[in-house]
């Protein structure tokens, strides 16, 4: 089978108020990714572009700014997992031999959409006039986990501290000022137990990734990074009675580990969907990185040895890098690509060889399980 490789990537700075034109910001980021890959726009066979609120014809608008037409351009929306799924789609085209190179773009401008917590879409849990915010949904889950002793409020605070500590090494992260555990606990309560600093922000930003087949992957002069396995699915339709016994993340991760022939113990570096601090702790368990109740200890270990894998969210995660929803998945992949090619600068995880991204989105089914997308990437040693 033809394999798909990552050969370059870039993100814009993630920020609260992007003052320029959204399409120009995105096109500039796409240019940066192409330069990183050593390709001219004309060398791109396929464009897959993702945005949730960025309007129609997004991929075509960006391609026009890159001066390329006459090739397939796809627009894709899949909630917060939009550009993670766009990368999956592009990889499928490459594996099928339909494209040799692909440009994956994700972008979002959320900061102009008001200061209130983002409301969830209509679902079995909502009713007319009573839709609740994402923070409330996550908080209700967290309340149950706290009651069951799966983690503590202090563990939640330390997740935010860790991701902020890591973001200090990422010049494009939105929040880079270090935090203390007490500051996180004392911040404004959004939905108990989640304080403001345990919630991801409505950010503006763009990300781009260049994928290629094996032949073109050798030309970058860097270590080759293979997109070894990917799996995507939506959650099961619930009857509204109870939570899933097996979270969708656990199912999707299992499928990816099986396809790639590796286990959670082999993973050196992870970018996972910490939309809220509680989600990070929950996903450790689903991804096999920690046993139930062991999340707090894993956070401690990462704070103590931030260069020794496994490291989760070295780029700052959604909590500190920022969460411009359509750009998040590709930004996670860019971070893992940099980690696996030794280009992550001060946040480099030592000898990172296997990386994983995990992105969630939407609420038509269970919490954030419209989409769960997991990618496993491997550095191939020459």
């Amino acid at each position: 089978m033809v394999n798909a490789f990552v050969i370059g990537g870039a993100t814009s700075p993630f920020s609260r108020q992007h003052t320029g034109d959204f399409d120009d910001l995105t096109a500039a980021t796409a240019w940066d990714a192409l330069r990183d890959a050593g390709l001219e726009p004309a060398a791109i066979d396929l464009v897959v572009a993702g945005t949730v609120h960025g309007g129609e014809g997004f991929g075509q608008r960006i391609a026009a700014r890159l001066g390329i037409g006459g090739r397939p351009i796809l627009n894709l929306e899949n909630a917060c997992a939009t550009s993670a799924v766009a990368a999956h789609e592009a990889a499928l085209w490459i594996r099928a031999g339909e494209a040799r190179t692909a440009l994956v773009i994700g972008a979002e401008a959320l900061s102009g959409r008001g200061g209130k917590p983002v409301a969830t879409s209509h679902s079995a849990y909502d009713y007319e006039g009573h839709g609740v915010s994402w923070a409330v949904r996550y908080a209700l889950h967290a309340q149950e986990d706290l009651r069951l002793g799966r983690y503590t409020r202090e563990d939640l605070a330390r997740v935010a501290v860790k991701n902020r500590t890591f973001a200090a090494g990422n010049p494009h992260a939105q929040f880079r000022t270090p935090l203390t555990e007490q500051e996180v606990l004392d911040a404004r309560m959004i939905a108990s137990p989640l304080t403001l600093l345990m919630c991801s922000a409505k950010s503006d930003g763009a990300s781009a990734l260049v994928l290629a087949d094996a032949q073109r992957s050798v030309r970058t002069g860097r270590p080759r990074v293979q997109l070894s396995a990917s799996s995507m699915r939506s959650g099961q339709l619930l009857d509204g009675t109870s939570r899933l016994h097996v979270p969708i993340t656990a199912e999707v991760a299992r499928a990816v580990y099986e396809k790639a022939g590796v286990g959670p113990d082999d993973v050196d570096v992870v970018e996972l969907h910490d939309a809220f601090a509680s989600a990070e702790l929950e996903h450790y368990v689903s991804l096999g990185l920690a046993a139930e109740g062991g999340g707090g200890r894993l956070v401690e270990a990462m704070l103590k040895s931030p260069r020794t894998g496994p490291i989760v969210n070295p780029g700052g995660g959604l909590l500190s890098r920022g969460h411009p929803i359509g750009a998040t998945g590709a930004a996670q992949l860019v971070e893992i690509y940099r980690q696996l090619t030794g280009a992550a600068g001060p946040r480099q995880v030592e000898d990172a060889r296997i990386g994983l991204t995990h992105t969630m989105g939407g609420t038509e089914f269970e919490l954030e399980s419209n989409v769960c997308m997991v990618h496993l990437l491997e550095r191939l040693d020459a």
Binding site: K116, P117, H122, A124, Y125, D126, Y127, E128, G129, H130, V132, S133, A135, V136, R137, A139, L140, H141, Q143, E144, R147, R188, M189, I190, A191, S192, P193, L194, L237, D239, G240, T241, S242
Partner: protein, 101 residues
């Protein structure tokens, strides 16, 4: 479309063919596709989880018979407490159920 709220609380739909219970109300059963659905009044429940913050006090409420809904509490409730719907200005709130019907 069937209204999800009446003057006393919430309305769910139950499939006459397979018994599937859904909230908010549906026009077709998501389990078997049947079109014959009965409206079921949802008035009581038990608090399962509560969160407080900028949206006020919101609870996850187990209404029994296999239905979990989210909604605002009119008081400072806690898990395990019995609650009952009340409607104010067309908006459903859940208040402490102190017995009665």
């Amino acid at each position: 479309m069937i209204a999800a709220v009446d003057d006393q609380g919430l309305i769910a739909t139950r499939c006459a063919a397979c018994g599937d219970l859904r909230f908010p109300p549906r026009l077709r059963c998501p389990s078997c596709g049947a079109a014959e659905l009965q409206c079921v009044a949802v008035r009581c429940g038990t608090v399962r989880n509560v969160t407080r913050g900028v949206s006020g006090t919101i609870a996850e409420i187990d209404t029994g018979e296999g239905l979990l809904v989210l909604g605002p509490l009119s008081y400072d409730g806690a898990p395990g407490q019995a609650v009952r719907t009340m409607v104010e200005d067309g908006r459903v709130l859940w208040s402490a159920d102190i017995g009665g019907s």
